[in-house]
Amino acid sequence: MKSPAFEYIRAESVAGAMSAYAEAGDDVVYLAGGHSVVPSLALRLQAPALMIDLSEIAALSGISFQDGWLRIGAMTRHVQAINDPLIAAQAPLFAAAAPFVAHPAIRNRGTLGGSLAHADPASEFPAAAVAMRVELEIASPKGTRRVPADEFFLDIYETAIEPGEILLAIHVPGPVAGQVIGFDEITRRQGDYAMVGAAVQAVAKDGILQDISIALFSVGTRPTRAVAAQAALMGRVIDDASIADAKAALGDDLDPPDDLQFPATMRLHLARVLLGRILANLEAVA
């Protein structure tokens, strides 16, 4: 398991990285934390001609407020999502999701942006991003644009990022009073890819849900917003009846993949169990 040969450039700026990409042509891979790319190189599942390392670009780091939104640099490490007070306050689902991502040493190195751009349908951060309704800031040679999370994740490993473009930052909308969240997943071992996972963010006034946002993962080819379950809950209090309705509604939301280890019926069953548990245990944002 040794990687095939490739050329390497450590980019110093976003513009520099993009022009290097444009010059090199087709077989180029951007490297952030490298924790998805490097194993696939070692397994020789891909063989790029050039790797452009983005990890030392200052513009991709940093966590700051910007127009009421929290701007999280794409190169923010998973471990920062656990420890950073700004993320805890304004992007609590990232903070809640991070401990579920792989293992401590992986979290020291893996990046938030890398995870979102990689768009593994079983990973945690994409679902948290959808549930929080974040916007993804993408740089292209023509300029930057912001894409809502619901439109960002397109298919298995496929996002709105076009070849050569770079994910710059994640923008998280400002917190709302009365916000509650829940994040959980069902795994066989700590740190495994989830059999099913879910991220929930809601706002309740006098117990009545004013807003609810639910995203599930490992149930399809991308993080999946549970539209029907959300509708089943809106304007209601969270109780046994509304939870039961939301669980039932998941049947309309999900069409999980069917495989030998995890048949579709099992994933749907687990998704219902998990959503029920998360809804029953929503926690106020600290």
């Binding site: 397994l43 071992r189 280890q261």
Partner: protein
């Protein structure tokens, strides 16, 4: 007074652990020799097929490539190997070669070997090999393999049945006819694999100028490989040296002959330079032996009081395209059918075994060969009987376990037990786990919708095997071990011994045993293992023999040297050696304990001033000893395990809460090491019970061949394990030690399965397949 020689029985720490803690382990994977080349293999991506095109011309000229071998250019250098043994009457297997020449027989079957200056370059060149295989229908399923008209899994066999056997007592049918109750079940035990953290590794170094072959090999059985390499490559044994340095885990997986290691040796012989092969994790999954893969149908007859009358068992085990060499892939199934019901007073028995070929990686001996299967089936049926008769699991076992004064005993399957302690173990477990309180807690929690379960499983373990194990079948596998002990000129002790160290603590216990014979501390005894040039020949590490056989060898060698020292001391001191003894690094007066002469002084005189010894004195301070067990064919140990689990009945996820073991391995030499052997063994039993499985699709593709998808047990999921002991030494040896390496693995899965079923019982669900995955549990519960 003579200080007591009491290092045997003490928890000495392992000195060799200090090297690892400092990052100074020396593994084969760390070895770099001058002019060494690295091997990589092109492997079959198909389970079965014919090679229609193989073109290595581009690879041969790729950057860094030193040589490319195919079957045509490599196989002639090695006598093919065939994994059959005479005492398994009627068994068959095709002969094996290093590289596939025309037919590929499993996914991962090596076809081309590429040697390059680096592993990366060798892998680069693998991508340039043009290999076209016309695929054929693979034999994937063992039951289907036996259906008429199914193609053969390999060449050189006349059917897909490798071996069949039947054991039967005359009154079996009668026992079932008069039974008050019969319980039965069908069980499936998945394929799993060893996943040693250090993969298989070898550096073969042939020096054409001297004709010497040195093989640095991550193996548990260096002498066996010395013999294999000599015979299969036509070398004299004296010119073959196998060195097994630090080994990153073995567990039975590293004693089989593998295509890649043989190819590395062949290549070194041809190139005259060192050849290194280190399996990467992906290769490990498709080329290391796998384990288990059984389907068992079993029933148990009981009388009205729950007394076990008989068992009737049919085991089908699936072994891949060949039987492994040199032990065969039959030994596992053979032990399964012979270990059924072993802890119980069970008069009658019938066991049928079918060993079946298929197009997958070979299965073969792995830690606790056959034990977990026999134990899980037996104990599941005992629990079913208890449920039927409304007996507590402890009570039904109390009624049936062999009485502690019923020895010697011969089991219905023919095993001879010298002396075991089942009843005492059962009582000890009951008390240790706080059984009554756990049951009360279980009842209370069920009312809250929390489903916990308790499962117990008594077991026996085969240890200290004699030559009847493999030797009688014609295998050149040593059942004896050898030790050479010497007193150095400075009065230290050196012991070279054939049993080997893989971290289980062999060197430490040997030092303890030797120290007690020579009146020194274990620190003063240096132990050398794992090098065929520097230690006497022996069996090394297999089937649980390091302490029982290796320890006895060391003890006897130590006593021999003790006599030599005392004789020499008597001559030096002009004293009657009957009045002398060894203690505290010196020769002392036996009655007063007073020091007469130090060992250092004896070493000095014997080495530098032999001229001062009385005429005719023998100044030898080296003793050699070999030992093979000659009493019982094996020393059986026994014990009992308990598992406490919680099953999330909505998700099917099982949490292992706690595990208990009571174990009787005879004389305990080092309690610290014994307990950690048991703990590690338990976890190797729990892994396949809950997580580990090699998942194949219907084309014979292994679909989870990485550590991301093959679930090994990790710290977060494994329970704390409480251990207690009963000590019933074997009288076959002076030392009295039996083995303990497989005890943990033998019954952990059985206890866990019983615990899960105990948790599921109120819901009317039951699981009879391992691993007990969420899917299988949810299916049993009717949720999927």
């Amino acid at each position: 007074m003579i200080p007591s020689k009491n290092h045997i029985g003490q928890s000495h720490r392992r000195k060799n652990a200090l090297r690892h803690l400092a990052g100074r382990g020396r593994f084969v994977t760390d070895l770099a020799l001058p002019r060494m080349v690295h091997a990589a293999f092109v492997r079959s991506p198909m389970a079965k097929g014919n090679i229609v095109e193989l073109d290595v011309s581009e690879a041969a000229v790729a950057s860094g490539v030193v040589r490319v071998f195919t079957a045509e250019t490599l196989n002639h250098s090695c006598v093919p190997w065939t994994g059959t043994l005479d005492h398994f009457a009627g068994m068959q297997s095709g002969a094996q070669n290093m590289l596939a020449s025309s037919e590929v027989l499993w996914v991962g079957h090596p076809v081309v070997m590429i040697l390059a200056h680096s592993r990366a370059e060798a892998e680069d060149a693998c991508e340039l090999v043009m290999l076209d295989i016309e695929d054929e229908d693979a034999v994937v399923d063992g039951d289907a393999a036996l259906v008429k008209g199914t193609p053969l899994a390999a060449e050189g066999i006349n059917s897909n049945m490798c071996f069949q056997t039947l054991l039967e007592t005359p009154d079996l049918d009668d026992a079932f006819a008069r039974a008050a109750h019969v319980v039965e079940g069908k069980f499936t035990f998945g394929r799993h694999t060893a996943v040693t953290l250090e993969p298989r590794a070898i550096v073969a170094d042939f020096d054409p100028s001297t004709g010497q072959l040195d093989v640095h090999h991550g193996t548990q059985t260096p002498y066996q490989f010395q013999d294999v390499y000599a015979r299969h490559f036509g070398l004299s044994e004296g010119r073959v040296r196998v060195i097994a340095p630090d080994i990153g885990g073995s567990f039975g997986m590293k004693l089989h002959v593998y295509h890649e290691e043989m190819a590395a040796v062949a290549a070194s012989l041809m190139l005259g330079r060192p050849v290194r092969f280190v399996a990467d994790r992906l290769e490990s999954f498709v080329s290391d032996i796998h384990a288990r893969d059984h389907r068992v149908t079993a029933r148990m007859a009981l009388d009205a009081e729950g007394g076990i009358l008989a068992m009737d068992v049919d085991d089908m085990t699936q072994i891949g395209a060949f039987s492994s060499y040199p032990r065969t892939s039959v030994a596992e199934g053979n032990q399964v059918i012979r270990l059924m019901g072993a802890p119980y007073q069970m008069p009658d028995y019938r066991g049928r075994l079918s060993v079946v070929f298929q197009n997958k990686v070979q299965t073969s001996q792995y830690r606790a060969v056959g034990h977990p299967i026999a134990c899980a089936v037996t104990e599941a049926l005992v629990d079913r009987a208890a449920e039927l008769l409304d007996l507590d699991p402890f009570e039904i076992r109390r009624r049936n376990l062999l009485a502690d004064d019923a020895y010697p005993h011969v089991s219905a399957t023919g095993y001879q037990f010298e002396k075991l302690s089942h009843q005492a173990s059962l009582d000890k477990l009951h008390q240790m786990m706080g059984y009554e309180a756990l049951r009360a807690e279980q009842t209370a929690l069920r009312k809250q919708g929390i489903y916990r379960g308790i499962g117990i499983a008594p077991f026996v373990e085969i240890t200290n095997p004699g030559a009847s194990f493999y030797g009688v079948g014609g295998a050149r596998i040593s059942a004896q071990d050898g030790a050479v002990i010497r007193l150095t000129p400075a009065g230290d002790v050196h012991c070279a011994i054939s049993v080997t160290e893989q971290g289980q603590g062999t060197e430490t216990i040997i030092a303890q045993i030797v120290a007690d014979q020579l009146g020194v501390t274990p620190d003063q005894v240096k132990v050398t293992t794992g090098d065929t040039d520097n230690t006497p020949s022996g069996g090394a590490t297999w089937a649980c023999r390091g302490a029982g056989i290796g320890g006895e060898t060391a003890l006897r060698a130590g006593r021999k040297l003790q006599m030599q020292i005392l004789t020499l001391a008597g001559e030096i001191l002009q004293a009657d050696q009957q009045h002398l003894a060894l203690a505290s690094g010196a020769v002392v007066d036996k009655t007063t304990g007073q020091e007469r002469i130090t060992l250092a002084e004896i070493g000095r005189i014997a080495t530098y001033r032999p001229d001062t010894l009385p005429k005719g004195s023998d100044n030898s301070l080296t003793a050699a000893q070999h030992f093979a067990p000659t009493g019982y064919p094996f020393d059986f140990t026994n014990g009992i395990q308990a598992s406490h689990v919680e099953v999330d009945i909505e998700t099917g996820v099982t949490r292992l809460l706690k595990h208990w073991v009571v174990e009787d391995c005879g004389r305990i030499i080092n309690p610290l090491l014994v307990d950690e052997q048991i703990r590690g063994g338990v976890v190797q039993g729990l892994g396949p019970a809950v997580f580990e499985e090699c998942l194949y699709d219907d084309m014979g593709q292994m679909t989870n061949a990485s550590l991301a998808d093959y679930l090994v047990p990790m710290a977060g999921e494994m329970p704390d394990i409480e251990i207690a002991h009963i000590e019933t030494p074997t009288l076959d040896t002076i030392l009295g030690a039996k083995g303990v390496g497989e005890a943990g693995t033998a019954a952990a899965g059985a206890a866990a399965m019983n615990a899960v079923n105990d948790a599921l019982r109120p819901l009317g669900a039951r699981i009879s397949q391992t691993p007990m995955t969420p899917l299988r549990i949810l299916t049993a519960l009717g949720h999927v």
